[in-house]
Every structure is written in structure tokens, then in C-alpha cells.
Symmetry: C2
Subunit: 330 residues, 2 copies
Amino acid sequence: MDPLDSPNSRPARLAAHSSPQGIAADLVAVLVAVTSGEPRVLTIQDQRALPSGPFELAHRSLQSGLRAWVERQTRLPLGYVEQLYTFADRDRAGTTGQHVISISYLGLTREQPAFGEHEARWRGWYDYFPWEDHRDGPPLLMEKALQPGLKAWASAASDRAAQRARRQRAAMLFGFEEHSWNEELVLQRYELLYEAKLIPEATRGNSSTSTSTRAALSNTPGHPMILDHRRILATGIARLRAKIKYHPVVFELMPDTFTLLQLQRCVEALAGRQVHKPNFRRLIEQQELVEETGETSQDTGGRPAKLFRFRRAVLAERAIAGTKLPVSGA
Amino acid sequence: MDPLDSPNSRPARLAAHSSPQGIAADLVAVLVAVTSGEPRVLTIQDQRALPSGPFELAHRSLQSGLRAWVERQTRLPLGYVEQLYTFADRDRAGTTGQHVISISYLGLTREQPAFGEHEARWRGWYDYFPWEDHRDGPPLLMEKALQPGLKAWASAASDRAAQRARRQRAAMLFGFEEHSWNEELVLQRYELLYEAKLIPEATRGNSSTSTSTRAALSNTPGHPMILDHRRILATGIARLRAKIKYHPVVFELMPDTFTLLQLQRCVEALAGRQVHKPNFRRLIEQQELVEETGETSQDTGGRPAKLFRFRRAVLAERAIAGTKLPVSGA
DNA sequence: TAATATATGCTCAACGAGAGTATATATCAT
DNA sequence: ATGATATATACTCTCGTTGAGCATATATTA
């Protein structure tokens, strides 16, 4: 089943029946850049929200509308844009009950001095999902904070079978007990934590939260966001982690020329895990994704590294499906 | 770039600026079943439209709303549901200029006697995309109808470089000249044909269509649909063809028990190409996706085949990412 | 009874992915 | 100057997967 519709991911509620004319739509953007080896997202509202704005039908397509809107608001040139998901089941906390359809997009760019009326700022995406960064092995907070909370959640199930199912699901998603870590399951992990009420967003606006839940929450790492913006961010990260494996979109995040190690660090930053250096280079070069510029970079510390540039021609040569980047264990 | 935003996929037009309150949303469903080895979609309006209806916010989530709506309208139990794409750039032919956001979904089910007020009928999806069926090799109509049209389109480009780019793109997508056929590029192929005005939908409502274009159109195979429904169907087929390779959704289309050849025929129907029988069986069995029922089926003609059933447990055991189905050359 | 169609199982070669090792060339601390 | 260290670059090996062909078993049908 589609993780975005996992049955218990949010409390059931009956919304008012709206006539089609009463619906509002807005765009939400997950804008990603990778700066000095860290994946970052553009945020507004004291870093608690993703950039968003009302949907206007003044463009040829949704996508070109988003592109124009982002470039007007932030002056960022978007290298790659892709629709993520359309949400319509938001909890509009505090609002008048007006329901909003949110159409979310992923956009790749290069970090620039933030610009915009809404105090736009770049922030590392692992600030929101610290458990997703496995570049130096599983982060300590997984044992310290997540595993106890998930264990408690599993034990709280009604019967033995349900407890076992919960434990198995947690182990599968977080790589406990023999299970290997799968970096693509960002959204499923977030939704499990949400379901287990280990995420502040899950109990927001719910006054009947128990004391024990509050205690667990206070230990939960990761910066919260408004509404379901963190879920949208999780969707974007998951999509990007899957995409870089078979589609050369990483280059939209790189400067014009770069060393192979810089490229590798960028992939590692996105995937949240290390990759095997020799294999990475082999795959990049044998696919002819890059070409040498003839120059070298010396500010890398050791031996000067050759500078490369992306061969944009491959986008025309090959079907937009046949390229691979290795994301495997170190 | 996302194929759904390819720059020339439809004529640019400036739509009226709508206030957020004036937006209507509806759901469009691509409902798929596979009956006796043929992939089929549910259609309405004399088989020229996909089932669709107004979006109502009376449900917990968009997805559960769609599920309820489909099951109410058609009495089909949906085994698997996934959001496809949200379109907002439709040409609302003949309507009052009211703009509609269409949220499209893919749903898998088993074919049942059609039910519903809108003369709902099942129809083979290759009636709409005859060039997508390569189970017996490339269909003749590719040489006969598509290749000449695409050749003309390529030659009509402004300069030599553009002509070459067009030829290359057509060859890449349709498998001409050394290029191999990639069954996943359904949407890209449709959009290329649209761009080349080889699809009736592309010139609809445009009175200035040239005579030569009309001639080409009359030769274009494939049943048209209203609005951009054929594009949505292409999106669904592409998504499903990609999905079956790493996610065990085929079983949602199968009866409770089935033979391995039936399963293979189902995969072949969806992928539009044949698969190697011994390899198919090997992969299915070594992944423990199925278990024997102990019974055999004799109505297959030759030696009785063992009957299998899907092991639903794998959905809980494995991360929703680690299963493979072979879709390769025969 | 032979022909035929399907079911089922086995083998082999080619390729790619993962992992380890070795060498070259720079910077930096002493 | 020199050794330590960090990076860059190249090569090798093994294993599992994948594509492809062949062989055998068991039914129906002419």
C-alpha cells in the first residue's frame, strides 16, 4: 500500500463536506541544495515551514507556474522540478475550517544567499530528520531515543500478534535485528514515528495527550514544522534518494566544475550513507556522465584532483531512464 | 526534466487568473484489471473517458476518498491504490473557462461485470496505445504509421541540429536504429506523438489545422479520449510498468489461486513484452512470493500446472522495496 | 500411439556490484 | 629536508544476478 495512505498515519476525522467551489489550492516547495557536503532545504517562518503560496492558474502548466513563482520569490534558478504529491487531508490547526489542497514539488538548485520577504533561510535537512544521517554509521540517537520509544509503542499493542507485527515493522524500517538500513524509506519511517506519537506534530492540538507520551516526545530528536510540512519534506527526501540512483539529477546540485570526490560527497549527503570510492568513480566514468575540463583543483588538501563537468548531452543521448549511481555500503 | 512538463507538450495559453476560492477539484481514476491475458481499463462515456468525479473533502484522506468513491460507483474492491499526478493545465474544451484541478489515481482490481450509471465498460488499454504492445515483437503499425509521421515531424524542424535532435529523441523513445525498446517510457512516447501532432487530442479545438496534419492524423492508430484522459492513462500505464519490477502489486490483479504461467502472462500483458519463462519462475520462487496450494489446474491444455497463492506475509516481512520481477527480453 | 502443448528443472556464460589493495602526488608539521 | 598524512587514481578479485539455452515430465488430442 502506498505509504501516504497507511491506515493509522493520522487520526480519523470527518471534515465538513465542501462544495467544489469552496476549495483552495496552494503550492508547497521542497527546495534542495547541497552546500559543503550538507543537504539543505529552504525554509521560512523561523525555519518551521516550507515555502508555499497560493496556486494561480496563470501559467501554462502547474510546473511552470511553480517554477515562475519560486524564481520570483527567491531568485533561485531551478535546475530540476518534479511534482511530489498532492495532500488534501491536512489538519488546518487553528484555521476556520477552510480546506486546502496542497500540491507539493521538489526543486533542485544551488544554494544562494537567501532572498525573499518571508525570512527565507537554508537549513540542513538532517536537523529535521537526524535519524536519516547514516554517513558515519547509525546515529547514536537511534538507540538512545528512537528504539525505546518504538519498543514502548510495540508493547502497547492489543494482542501478541499485533505486538509482533509492530516490532517487525519497526525493525524493518529502522534496520534493527538483522535488517539492513534502507535509505529510501524516509517517509515510511516518519509515518511510523508519527503513528507511534513520537513526533510532536502527531499530538498537536490534542489536549488529551498523556503524560507518558509527553515524556517520550521531549526526547524525540528532530526539529518540528508546521502542519504536515515535515511529512512533505520526508516525501521529497525519499523521492530524491530514489531518483539519484537511476537518473543524473545530482548534477543540478553541483557547481559547473567539480572533483569526483565532491560529487561523491554530494551523493553521500543526499543518500545519508557512504559509498565505496573506487566503485563510485568507476560507475561515473564508464557511463560517461562527466568529462574532464583539463584543470585541476588544489584546495582539496592532498594531490590535486581533476576537475570535471557534467556532460549535458547524455540527457539527449540516453533515454531518461538508463543511468545508475551507486549508493551502497562503504 | 519531468516528462509531464516537457516544454512543447501543449500549446501555451494564458488562463484567467482565478482566485483561490474559485478552484474546483476532481478525481480521475485509472482502474486496471487483467482479464484472460489482456490489460484493461474501466471507461465511461462511450469508452472515451476515464471515470471521474468531484472531489469531496468528506474523507480522512484523498486516497480513502477515492477508494470509497470508486467502490460506491463501481462496486469494485480496490486492491491497491496509488496517486498518479495532479494536472491543472487542462484544456477545458467548450466549458465556461472554469478551471479544474484533476488529481489522478491508479487502482488495481479484478474485472467484474461493469456496474454504474455512466455506462462503465472495460476496454483493453492497447486499444488506446496500440504501439505499446510488443509481446509479439514491435507491432507493424510502428513502421506503417508512426515512423513516417515522426520522420516528417523531424524534418520539419528549423535547422539541421534541431532535426537531428528530434530524430534522436524519436529513435530513443520508440527503439529505432540500434536503440532498444524501453517499455517504461509510455508517457514520453505519448507526449512526443502529441508534440508531433500525430494524436487527435493535440489539434482538437484548433481550426487552423493544416491539411497535411489531418492526413497524418487519419493514419494515427489508437482510440482517442476526452480532454487529457489519454495522457492520464499513459501516466498510469508507465507507473504500473515501473512498479511491477520491484513491488509485488501484480498479485492484486490475479485471482486467489493461479498457475505460474498465468502470472507470467499477466506480467507480460502489463509490460507489453514477453519474458523468459525459466527465469521468471526462478525469480518468483526464490523470492518466496508464492506458496503452493497443493492443487493443480488441468484446464491449461498440457501437463497440469500447480496452483499457487500469493504469500501476503511478504508485505509485512520485507520492506516495501525489496522485490523484483523480471521484465526482460524473451 | 504419435504428436503436441504445457509444466518443471538444470546448466552455463557474461556481466555488474561489492570490496580490497596498491600507487601517485600534493600539503603540513617537525 | 623529511616523514606523516590526506587525497587522487588505478587495478584486481570474487560473488551473485541475469539472460539464455537445453532437458525432462506429464497431460491432452488427433
